[in-house]
């Protein structure tokens, strides 16, 4: 069913707040932080004007934001929040707990660099610091995807076989503060898509008391963690299914990865979020010149779509993996490590080159990406990769 399309020019943060409004969650507990502040700010306006039924809890810190979200979610409410950078870092303790308690909390993260030096601009250090927390992590290329991913996140998180929190990332400033024209869904279409949240067990069911968050020692802790690992692994087909349902509804289909001009591609860049948009331009231009280049976008980082990625890259000669965060003391960023590990057991695999770029919001331009492709072609001739390369840095 294709509904009538309404279009609007809107900033990334405002689109996130609008999506929150359309979901009309029971509780939003949040704390402002650049570059995510407008989500909380705009949502407060909706609350103040009576446009949502939500109880807004303006907490005194991000740690309390996630704690209040945990309490509210365990009480049976549909809960949403937003943060970035240091805020996500302060939440770190509670992120693990939200996931382990299997609470379907939705959080947008306007991805931003971590201190020090303090820097308010976009990179993926914050989300990558939370990659082992047990949250599902989805990254958005542009404002439309921010908007679309939030609705899908609700449906994924609350799926009975998942029941896990979902983090929807988008690049700080680059996407959070950019005005783009996006297609909107009507409120009733959104509410129909996300449905009603019906948790199995809640704290407010006072006639059937439950104890949430007990002490589990050597005889049971491990089983809890493994059950949680299975839940996030099993969410992969559900994420795909929800992406397809969303496509049937809107015409915008989502998968866990996106292959762009990968047919016959020998030199491929892997990237996430807004850089994918820049890379598309370069791939188009180089393809015009007849060069066999392609682009692989990673939309879902957790659960890591191992098989999808390995299959997409198996016939590629050289892959350049672009990380917008670093792992000091290691030989590549998180994306590089995960992809190269995933390919280890397969005979058919490309040479992989590690890149780190764009830390603290440093621009990545089409020129930079062209140079990456040139380098990938040289590596192809040489037959082995160069050491980890930093793009656009003065050394």
């Amino acid at each position: 069913m294709k509904t009538q399309v309404r279009k609007i020019a809107i900033e990334g943060n405002e689109a996130a707040a609008l999506a929150f409004k359309q979901v009309n969650p029971d509780v939003v507990a949040a704390y402002p932080i650049t570059p995510s502040t407008e989500v909380v700010q705009k949502f407060s306006e909706y609350v103040a004007n009576g446009e949502v039924d939500t109880e807004f809890v303006p907490v005194e810190s991000e740690h309390s934001a996630m704690s209040a979200c945990i309490g509210a979610s365990a009480a049976g409410a549909r809960v949403m929040t937003s943060t970035a950078s240091q805020g996500l870092a302060l939440m770190w303790e509670m992120l693990y707990i939200a996931a382990s308690l299997r609470l379907p909390i939705i959080m947008t993260v306007a991805n931003r660099a971590l201190s020090a030096p303090i820097n308010i601009h976009g990179d993926h250090s914050d989300a990558m610091g939370a990659r082992d927390s047990g949250w599902i992590q989805i990254f958005s290329e542009n404002v439309q995807e921010v908007y679309d991913n939030i609705f899908q996140a609700v449906k994924i998180a609350e799926n009975e076989n998942v029941r896990l929190p979902v983090m929807v990332g988008y690049d700080g400033f680059i996407t959070s503060h950019s005005v783009e024209t996006i297609e909107l869904l009507d409120d009733d279409v959104v509410r129909n898509f996300v449905g009603k949240y019906r948790p199995k067990y809640t704290l407010l069911d006072v006639d059937n008391p439950i104890s949430v968050g007990p002490l589990a020692l050597t005889d049971s802790y491990f089983e809890f963690k493994v059950a949680q690992a299975y839940a996030i692994e099993n969410s992969l087909p559900i994420i795909k299914q929800v992406g397809k349902e969303y496509g049937d509804l809107t015409g915008r289909y989502y998968d866990v990865i996106e292959k762009y001009k990968m047919d016959g591609a020998e030199y491929v860049i892997v990237a996430m979020s807004s850089t994918v948009g820049t890379a598309r331009e370069v791939v188009d231009a180089l393809r015009e010149k007849g060069l066999p280049v392609g682009l692989l976008k990673i939309r879902v980082f957790r659960p890591f779509p191992t098989e999808d990625i390995v299959n997409a890259l198996k016939d590629v000669k050289v892959v350049g993996i672009l990380d917008r965060s670093m792992v000091p003391g290691s030989f590549g960023g998180p994306l590089y490590h995960e992809i190269t590990s995933a390919m280890y057991h397969f005979d058919k695999r490309p040479i992989a080159q590690a890149y780190v770029y764009g830390l603290g919001g440093r621009d990545i331009t089409t020129n930079h990406i062209e140079k990456v492709f040139e380098e990938l072609m040289e590596i192809g001739k040489k037959g082995k990769p160069n050491p980890l390369t930093y793009i656009g840095v003065r050394e």
Binding site: A29, D53, E60, S61, S64, G71, S73, V79, S211, L215
Partner: protein, 311 residues
């Protein structure tokens, strides 16, 4: 409001036996008194600490009421989320019961690491009762000093050394901080004065707004006291002025225990507990004097507050 012992004895326990708290621990006594003083259904948030670890060792639980623990410093934030969910779902007609919300934390989770979350929750006005079971040190990790530890007391991080004999600082006055923070009902209580304690709980849960209870809680392990002395030591604390019983309702102070002939000598309280043993040595007499001065100053301040707020 009146509490009838006969009726109390017939009430179903909301924290049942089988938990692993030490014999003589004040926490379980206090929790049972608190829960039995409330007639409505309750939801409890519990900070990490002795009470939490000893009552919910998976797959067992001692709690016959809905209970949540997530971390150490955040039980106030957690219960504020639960309360917000309750308001949201009640507004939508999905819940029609009257439910009360409680947070239990030790003095670590209240005075120190949890102070920010507590202050925020009270400022936002969530209708919940925030209860500190105050055993005056971090007991779950093995008796370390806290902001609630009284001057001179031994703990494993304020040992009775040759140069520094016990905790050099006086304790933080958290109860007064909660008054200043705007809690609508604030009280200090002791399980030795159980009727006073339970009446305060009733007032707190019937307060339309945030309420804070600071409840004195013995710890035989940490205080080096016999495990049959929970109530007698609690009584001694009240009778010697080591723990004042008072309440503040909408800013008005009322002292609930004011001995006509004055407090008993603090030495009686000190002698009963190993944590203060070193204060009886002649070379540490100045610390005992300083502790007495702390108490005197606090008491005189309280008397003045009672007077000026009831004029």
């Amino acid at each position: 409001m009146a509490i009838n012992l006969r009726e109390l004895a017939l009430k179903e326990e909301r924290l049942v036996s089988g938990h692993r708290l030490c014999a003589g621990c004040g926490a379980s006594i206090i929790v049972r008194m608190v829960l039995n003083a409330i007639d409505e259904p309750v939801v409890v948030a519990n900070a990490t600490g002795c009470l939490e670890v000893a009552t919910t060792i998976f797959p067992f639980t001692s709690w016959n009421v809905p209970w949540i623990h997530s971390a150490f410093e955040n039980s106030a934030a957690t219960i504020s989320g639960v309360e917000a969910a309750y308001r949201a779902l009640k507004k939508k007609g999905e819940i029609n019961r009257e439910i009360r919300f409680l947070s239990f934390s030790g003095d670590g989770g209240t005075y120190d690491i949890g102070l920010q979350a507590l202050s925020g929750a009270i400022e936002r006005g969530h209708r919940a009762v925030y209860i500190c079971y105050n055993n005056e040190a971090y007991m779950n990790t093995g008796i370390q000093r806290s902001g609630a530890t009284p001057r001179g007391a031994f703990t494993t991080t304020s040992p009775a050394g040759k140069v520094i004999p016990g905790k050099p600082q006086k304790r933080k006055n958290l109860t007064e901080m909660m008054v200043a923070n705007g809690a609508k009902y604030v009280a200090q209580a002791s399980p030795s004065h159980w009727r006073d304690l339970m009446e305060k709980v009733k007032k707190a849960v019937n307060t339309d707004g945030p309420a804070f209870l600071n409840i004195y809680s013995t710890c035989p392990r940490g205080w080096r006291t016999p495990d049959n002395s929970a109530i007698s030591i609690s009584r001694l604390a009240v009778e010697t002025g080591a723990w004042f019983l008072y309440e503040v309702e909408d800013g008005k102070y009322k002292i609930n225990y004011k001995p006509a002939k004055g407090f008993k000598p603090i030495e009686e309280y000190i002698k009963a507990q190993g944590r203060f043993a070193h204060l009886l040595k002649p070379e540490n007499a100045h610390i005992l004097e300083a502790l007495k001065k702390d108490i005197e100053e606090e008491w005189n301040r309280l008397l003045r507050l009672e007077e000026v707020t009831n004029r």
